[in-house]
Amino acid sequence: MVAEVKQDRVFSNSAFIQSWLNRLGPVLGLVLVIAIFSLLMETPARFLSPNNLRVVLAQTVIVAIGAIGMTMIIISGGIDLSVGSTIALTGVITALGINAGWSPTVALAAGILVGGVVGVVNALAITRLKVVPFIATLGMLGVARGTAKWVAGEQTVNMPDNWLNELLVMFPNPPWLLVAPGVWITIILAVLAAIVLRNTVFGRRVFALGSNESAARACGIATDHLKIWIYGLAGLLFGLAGVMQMSRLRQGDPTVAAGSELDIIAAVVIGGGSLNGGVGSIVGSMIGALIMAFLRNGCQQVGWHNYIQEIIIGAIIVIAVAVDRWRSSRAAA
């Protein structure tokens, strides 16, 4: 055990410098995006106004919460393509729960738990059935989406007013919260996840698993067990993202968030995560999510067409990774 901790320490020292380098890129990108749009804007004051920031932050929440879970998975060398479907499923479950007369808190817990169950099922397919994560979660993408439509009776699930609806409103109540409660929840979760990944044995093992799975196993890490925890925890977060989505729509919508797994993966990758595993940071992913939200918001306010926006976001993903590659090859040399 002592030897293992030591090894972690050595690993984390070089990784520490690396991760700071990785982090600077995204921050710079975010500042640049905001600065460029402010310059392009006829009325930059509106773009930078508290109201607009409030809106952008609320719009980032779903992708950001998803990205926290996805960061853990990607660091561990995995991937989860079923996030969008999980968001739809858990939103529907929560809405159904409220319709069934459960208290919002119970419905919230149910939504989150269902997300966790989906994650654990993914992990079981990966570890027991030996299916690679890409395929296992691609399968779940269909299964969860279908289940969502099935339990929802192929229609949106409308529900009576409840406090979950207030999670992502533009003007929070009470006003001293400044931003929607969901934004605070996201910040707290991001801080917790960052601490867990950086400072706990569990977190270091996630990195070890992603850096070199056989080496991790040789060091005595129960990798299968670890994967179940990773996908399960991430699933709980995806479940929460689903509740947030439901809160924004004020209904459980089984067709929502199709394709949002790509936004979430893009946030992690722009934030410096590597699909090869072993690299990534929560802070980076949060900034990645913010970059995309600001891009969307900015493109709209400047009056650009949607296709320009899509091209820009696509280009930025590739550029972010290319710059990252180039930087790490320099760092290695």
Partner: protein
């Protein structure tokens, strides 16, 4: 290293800016220019292009009358994604447009953003599909129920009041198509009791592709007995038409669709399609913006405005009225 990363990103963004002809939005600080945001459900259907043209026509007309009006056109990034449409509405509210003309993707999901817009001082006119909210200024749309009833009348007459008919629905939660389906079904049951409805619970989904797949599955099951088909919008009609053509059944069943496109007109000329119910999206875009501007100028506006539905058949296809309806002057207003 950082410098290069910076230049790389900056250059790309600048190149993008140079490539795109940008149209600055936002209300002008000086003068009384009104900025109206028009938000469709998507941007690639021909239907929405007509709405866009109509909105631009209203803006041009009003501007020439001395009320400077600027129309900003922006749909959800992913078509038919409610979350994305909400983001567009929220973006326009903080941008401070004078008014929003919105075709909501869902009658409930868009209620909160519209209410928040009202609270922030931005009024909304709803077009095309209904919204369950009191926060809207006016509802400018097709009488969809009537459209479905026109389709039922046409199919019923073609079939002489007896036969087997199927309805392929559009998508869950879309108010306008649900009303068309409802109007179709009730008219069928009431006026043509001899017609048997063999399938009314299948959905086409959002795109032509999903519609084609759903149609193939339906035709696989009912293809040998079905005599009449109704589909309630452009994508479901296109998907069904493709599926019918693939199995060489087009022209052998009576088929009435909804919305107009060149493909449908060609199909009507070759008798593969026996009728389409068309709305007047050009008028809808036009009246949507007019209503919003009237409201902003303090004039009273009607709570509900019908923009009209018409049945187009191979017989009346070449009349002048139908031709202007089918070919609104898009080129003139979309530059």
């Amino acid at each position: 290293m950082r410098k290069i990363a910076l230049w790389f990103t900056a250059l790309t963004v600048i190149a993008m800016v140079a490539l795109s002809c940008t149209k600055p939005g936002g209300a002008g600080a000086n003068g009384k220019k009104l900025t109206i945001a028009v938000i469709p459900k998507g941007t690639t259907h021909e239907f929405w292009k007509s709405i866009h043209a109509g909105a631009n026509k209203a803006a041009a007309e009003l501007s020439s009358q001395g009320n400077e009006v600027d129309v900003i056109w922006k749909g959800p990034l992913r078509e038919d994604d409610r979350e994305q449409q909400i983001q567009v509405v929220e973006g326009f509210v903080t941008q401070g447009v004078n008014g929003i003309v919105l075709a909501p993707l869902d009658n409930r999901a868009l209620a909160r953003p519209v209410e928040e817009a009202k609270r922030a001082g931005v009024p909304t006119v709803i077009i095309d599909s209904g919204l369950n909210s009191d926060a809207l200024v006016s509802f400018v749309a097709t009488d969809n129920r009537k459209g479905g009833m026109l389709a039922a009348d046409r199919l019923g007459q073609l079939l002489n009041g007896k036969g087997k008919v199927l309805l392929l629905r559009y998508a869950e939660g879309s108010a306008s198509t649900t009303e068309r389906e409802g109007g179709f079904l009730s008219e069928m049951k009431e006026k043509f009791p001899g017609i048997e409805l063999i399938s009314t619970d299948q959905y086409a989904g959002a795109t032509r592709d999903t519609a084609k797949r759903a149609s193939e599955n339906l035709l696989n099951r009912f293809g040998d007995q079905v005599q009449g088909i109704f589909t309630p919008n452009e994508s479901s009609t296109a998907g069904m038409l493709l599926a019918l053509q693939d199995i060489e059944k087009a022209g052998k069943v009576f088929f009435v669709g909804f919305d107009a496109s060149q493909t449908f007109i060609d199909a009507m000329r070759s008798n593969q399609l026996n009728g389409i119910v068309v709305q007047n999206p050009f008028n809808m875009g036009y009246l949507g913006v007019r209503t919003m501007v009237d409201h902003l100028l303090g004039k009273p506006v009607q709570k509900i405005t019908d923009t009209g539905v018409t049945l187009v058949t191979p017989e009346n296809l070449d009349s002048a009225d139908i031709q202007t309806l089918l070919h609104p002057p898009l080129q003139q207003y979309l530059k």
